[in-house]
């Protein structure tokens, strides 16, 4: 099957949203990386020109992805997954260390980050596993297997070290929930997060008191009816308090100081605008100084002065905020929301479970990146270094997300084909 076949119909809205984000992204990378010294546009040492090359090559990549048979991805998902895992492992002996992390392969002047590609591979493997006729995700056994598929790449990535990228793998719970996993897992995750943050915020003593209070109120209100007894309430409360204490212990004894600082800044327990909080503070200033319509393209004073570190990569959104203002930033947020929602809508209409699970995985991964990145740049979340999809500078990142997205576009195209 080729893409010239009149029976194949790609979702042009998704492609349009993708193209808009990449285009707007490049415009902002241009501004963020523009220096007064470079006068020639065609300059291979300039970041914006490199990114333009990556974008050009990604078009070739897209044509290649769309040209392959959609069945290819399902059949070879396991192989792709295994190759990806091997590439993640081999980065330890063979990879190059860039700013403290061994996450890159270096070919000549080009660096490839395998973890960016592993997301698509994992999504394929998970989709393949869940859509297998013998898998029932409601059973604990299969849940465990699915968890292993997801956790393996994450576990390999963490010691690179790249905890941010590893965190992204939690996105798959959304896909699993969609396919029938019990809500309790999400709830549990939510409670764990709430206890974690709560403990750090108000301290272990207050948190324990609150847990006891809530448990007590719930127990008293439920007393008339039949239900779990005092013992079980007590046990859960005890577990919560134990968790709270362990969080306290881990935070103070296992975490490194830089991790603790990042949390403390977001929780407002520390205000250090020069040291560890510098990134967030400068990013907020850049965005905040944009006003309604921004300072204009390449006119951002914060951007020009390089006040925001990593502005062309993880903090690219601060350039949007400064130079295009509230309206520009809102447009970008809107485009992301639209893209993710569009993918969800498409996923829901897939007839094959494989495509649907894959679609959900794509949406979830994009969402986590979007949420964590913009949350960080606007100062709502602690500093977790992950890129903004299609926006941030970096060939691996751009290609990883392009592959991730366009495999789904290809699968969705096949959906039409069969109708």
């Amino acid at each position: 099957m080729s893409i010239t076949s009149r029976n194949v119909k790609f979702d042009w809205l998704t492609i349009f949203l993708f193209a808009s984000l990449v285009g707007i992204g490049w415009i902002n990378i241009y501004s963020a990386s523009l220096s007064d010294t470079g006068s020639n546009f065609v300059d291979f040492s300039q970041i914006y020109f490199k990114q333009l090359l990556w974008i050009g090559l990604s078009v070739v990549l897209i044509i290649f992805i769309l040209a392959l048979d959609s069945k290819f991805y399902e059949r070879f998902s396991s192989v792709i997954y295994l190759v990806s895992l091997v590439s993640l492992i081999l980065v330890f002996p063979l990879g190059k260390e860039i700013s403290g992390a061994t996450s890159w392969y270096s070919f000549g002047g080009v660096s490839i980050q395998p973890s960016e590609f592993a997301k698509a591979a994992t999504a394929l493997a998970l989709a393949k596993f869940i859509s297998d006729i013998q898998t029932n995700i409601r059973t604990f056994r299969d849940q465990l297997k699915a968890f292993v598929i997801i956790a393996l790449p994450a576990i390999i990535i963490v010691p690179q070290p790249d905890p941010g990228s590893a965190l992204v793998y939690s996105a798959f719970v959304f896909a699993m929930y969609r396919e029938g996993m019990h809500f309790v897992y999400l709830l549990l995750g939510f409670f764990v997060a709430a206890l974690f943050i709560g403990t750090l915020w108000i301290g272990v003593t207050w948190m324990s008191l609150i847990v006891v209070l809530i448990a007590g109120v719930l127990y008293l209100r439920k007393k008339k009816k039949k239900g779990p007894g005092l013992f079980r309430y007590g046990a859960i409360a005890f577990a919560c308090i134990a968790f709270s204490f362990s969080v306290n212990y881990i935070f103070n004894n296992v975490f490194e100081q830089r991790h603790r600082d990042r949390f403390n800044i977001v929780l407002g327990k520390e205000t250090d605008t020069q040291g560890i909080g510098y990134n967030t503070n400068q990013s907020e200033i850049a965005i905040g100084s944009g006003g309604w319509t921004g300072k204009g393209w390449t006119q951002g004073t914060q951007t020009k002065g390089d006040f925001v570190p990593e502005q062309h990569t993880d903090y690219i959104f601060s350039t949007v905020g400064e130079e295009w203002g509230f309206l520009g930033a809102l447009l970008v947020v809107g485009l992301f929301v639209a893209l993710i929602v569009r993918i969800l809508v498409l996923a829901e209409r897939q007839r094959s479970q494989f495509s649907r699970v894959y679609g959900y995985s794509v949406a979830s991964i994009l969402f986590v990146h979007f949420f964590v990145n913009i949350g960080m740049v606007t100062g709502l979340l602690p500093t977790i270094g992950i890129p903004l999809p299609f926006f941030s500078y970096g060939g691996s990142s751009l290609w990883g997300f392009t592959i991730l997205l366009f495999i789904f576009v290809r699968l969705d195209g096949a959906n039409y084909y069969y109708t």
Binding site: D36, F174, Y177, R178, G180, L186, Q282, E284, I285, A286, I287, G288, S289, G290, G291, W292, Q299, T301, Q302, K304, G305, D306, F307, G321, E322, G325, F326, A329, L330, V333, G334, F336, V337, I340, V341, L344, E348, Y360, A363, S364, F367, F370, F371, I374, G375, T378, G379, L380
Partner: protein, 622 residues
């Protein structure tokens, strides 16, 4: 339900980000300021302040470079403190203290260590500065006074304070502004407009280029030079005559209203308020609450004018038609108005008509004229208000609108004044209660500037220009319009003749007859004004003020002058002598009456001024 979870999470996140962006970008505007503070540096280019010249083109004020030793604390490396302190002529403790202060202000921004080095200090220091990292010398422009007089006219410049910055956003901390005299009055002319340059900085505070392609940058506009109406020679001469005396001399050119000299005593060298000793000197001048050298007695001193006021009483009487030129009025050693005491007079021929009355300064004559003027109207209230309206047309009892930033309105009483004093209508009051006004005592108060102004109006026979000190703004070649508009008094021109004749007779054979200058016909009027002060809460009379007004020559007057010497006693003793010396100096260029000049130059009233502070009982009018 399962379909909706991620969808709703995505949508909610979108809304949360929207809210956050709204908060950062729209609601909280502090980020704009923060951004400008850390990314854009503003550099000012200060133009040279305009020069000040006198009416003949003599340079009075120019500029001089001054050198400040600056420090950026974080760049300071260990240094030979002792040697450095020797160079700066300070002790190591002072240096330590200054560095500590600078560091507290900002480790990265420059602070002043030693302000305003002299040229010689700068020369010896500049070649050794390379040894002291973190220190450098910054050039500034200061005023350079070419003359040691006219401090009250020229004013001075000082650093702006927060109040000024709040009122006028043109100024930034550390900039200078004219604070007195013409420096203040013509601040915007002299100052020019500073140029602004915006520079984009990077995160290390390095300059990385222009901001928005210089779109907001402006070039400095040089300040304009100004030419004053002051005659520097006359001004200087006036200040020498005023040595050891308090009061003022003010001279106008009647035909134009131009101020030829404006001398306040005591005065000070304007150079005192420039340079390293500035604040010390200023404090000294500011806290001299007895001699008050910063108090411009010509513009701010409100005094009873005394007898010169009789010229006005005569003019108003003539205008109101209550007195005939030929009518002779008897004087019985004073004017009896029905009180327990009469308004006293000195001994002179009697009875006298108008011209003789002025020449002999007869109190009775003018009390009579004044009383008739008021009593012409049905009630004393109407009479007083009519009298006041005549005086107002001479610029009395109000701010005059001259172009110097200080002044007082003086006082001309109205019916309201007396109604308040006598609690009208519970109690009534009549003209005799105000009779002292006739001879320039009582409730009448004037500044010497107002005295000279009415003198000029008399010299012009009924009109005057607002007194002003600006002769020309170089470059603009104009002066403010209000100084080229003739103001006419309510007195008809024909009434001035007899008053001028009277004033000429004052000089001819009257109270100032011993002040004759060869070849000059002066019309003048002496005044000896009673005054009081409070010593320990007790109202005590002091020696009379010596007052003299004059203009000359009699025909086509070229100078009008008012001299006021505090506690100088007879008008002709101090004020008259000084006035005629000034006139002679101005019209002839040199003084023939050397003895008289020596008397004034060596004469001192310091003993008189110290009397009220001596704590001993003292005698007055000796």
């Amino acid at each position: 339900m399962r379909k909706l979870l991620l969808l709703s999470v995505v949508l909610i996140s979108g809304l949360v980000f929207m809210g956050r962006l709204f908060y950062l970008q729209i609601y909280d505007t502090s980020f704009q300021v923060l951004s400008e503070n850390n990314a854009v540096k503003v550099e000012y280019d200060y133009p040279q302040r305009g020069y000040i010249f006198d009416r003949n083109g003599t340079l009075l004020v120019s500029n001089q470079p001054s050198y400040d030793v600056m420090v950026i604390p974080k760049d300071v490396k260990p240094l030979d403190t002792l040697e450095f302190c020797n160079l700066l002529k300070i002790t190591p403790e002072v240096l330590k203290e200054k560095l500590k202060k600078a560091r507290t202000y900002s480790p990265r921004l420059p602070s002043v260590v030693i302000p305003q080095l002299t040229k010689t200090e700068y020369a010896s220091l500049s070649e050794k500065m390379y040894k002291y990292e973190g220190f450098y010398i910054q050039k500034r422009s200061l005023r350079d006074y070419q003359v040691n007089h006219s401090a009250n006219v020229l004013g001075y410049i000082s650093e702006v304070n927060e109040r000024i910055i709040k009122k006028n956003p043109y100024y930034q901390m550390g900039e200078i502004i004219g604070t007195g005299g013409v420096e203040k009055q013509y601040e915007e002319v002299l100052r020019g407009v500073k140029g602004v340059k915006y520079i984009q900085k990077d995160r290390f505070n390095r300059e990385i280029g222009t901001y928005k392609n210089n779109r907001f940058d402006t070039l400095p506009v040089r300040g304009n030079d100004i030419m004053l109406t002051i005659n520097a020679q006359l001004q200087e001469y006036g200040e020498t005559l005023m040595r050891n005396k308090r009061g003022g001399i003010v001279a106008l050119e009647p035909a134009t209203g131009e101020i030829l000299a404006l001398v306040a005593g005591p005065n000070y060298d304007p150079a005192l308020l420039v340079g390293r000793e500035r604040s010390k000197n200023f404090t000294k001048l500011y806290y001299d609450t007895i001699a008050k050298p910063l108090f411009d007695r010509v513009l701010q001193g409100e005094y009873p004018p005394g007898s010169p006021f009789k010229a006005l009483t005569a003019l108003i009487g003539l205008q109101e038609g209550v007195i005939d030129l030929e009518e002779r009025i008897s004087c019985y050693g004073g004017y009896n108005y029905g009180g327990a005491k009469k308004l006293g007079c000195h001994s002179h021929r009697s009875p006298l008509s108008m011209i003789g009355g002025i020449a002999n300064s007869c109190n009775s004559y003018f009390a009579t004229v004044y009383r008739r003027t008021i009593d012409k109207y049905p009630t004393p209230q109407e009479g007083i208000d009519n009298w006041k309206s005549h005086l107002s047309s001479f610029g009395l009892g109000q701010y005059m609108g001259y172009d110097l930033p200080t002044g007082r309105p003086g006082k001309i009483p109205s019916s309201k004044t007396y109604n308040a004093i006598y609690q009208y209508p519970t109690y009534r009051w009549y003209t005799p209660a105000t009779i002292s006004n006739a001879i320039g005592q009582g409730e009448v108060l004037m500044t010497p500037m107002q005295m000279v102004n009415f003198t000029a109006a008399i010299a012009n026979r009924g009109w005057y220009f607002k007194p002003h000190i600006i002769k020309n703004i170089v470059g603009a070649d104009t002066i403010p319009k209000q100084y080229t508009q003739k103001i006419t008094t309510t007195i008809d021109p024909e009434h001035f003749g007899p008053v001028i004749d009277g004033m000429f007779d004052v000089y001819n054979y009257g109270t100032a007859s011993h002040l004759k200058v060869k070849g000059i016909e002066i019309c003048g009027k002496t005044g000896t004004a009673e005054n009081y002060t409070k010593i320990d809460g007790v109202r005590t009379q002091l020696t009379d003020h010596s007052v003299f007004i004059a203009f000359a020559p009699r025909n086509n007057p070229r100078i009008a002058i008012a001299v006021f010497i505090e506690n100088g006693y007879w008008g002709s003793r101090w004020a008259g002598r000084i006035a005629t010396l000034m006139i002679e100096k101005y019209l002839h260029g040199e003084i023939t009456r050397k003895d008289l000049e020596t008397f004034i130059l060596n004469g001192s009233l310091q003993e008189e001024y110290s009397k009220p502070y001596s704590g001993q009982p003292f005698r007055i009018n000796q």
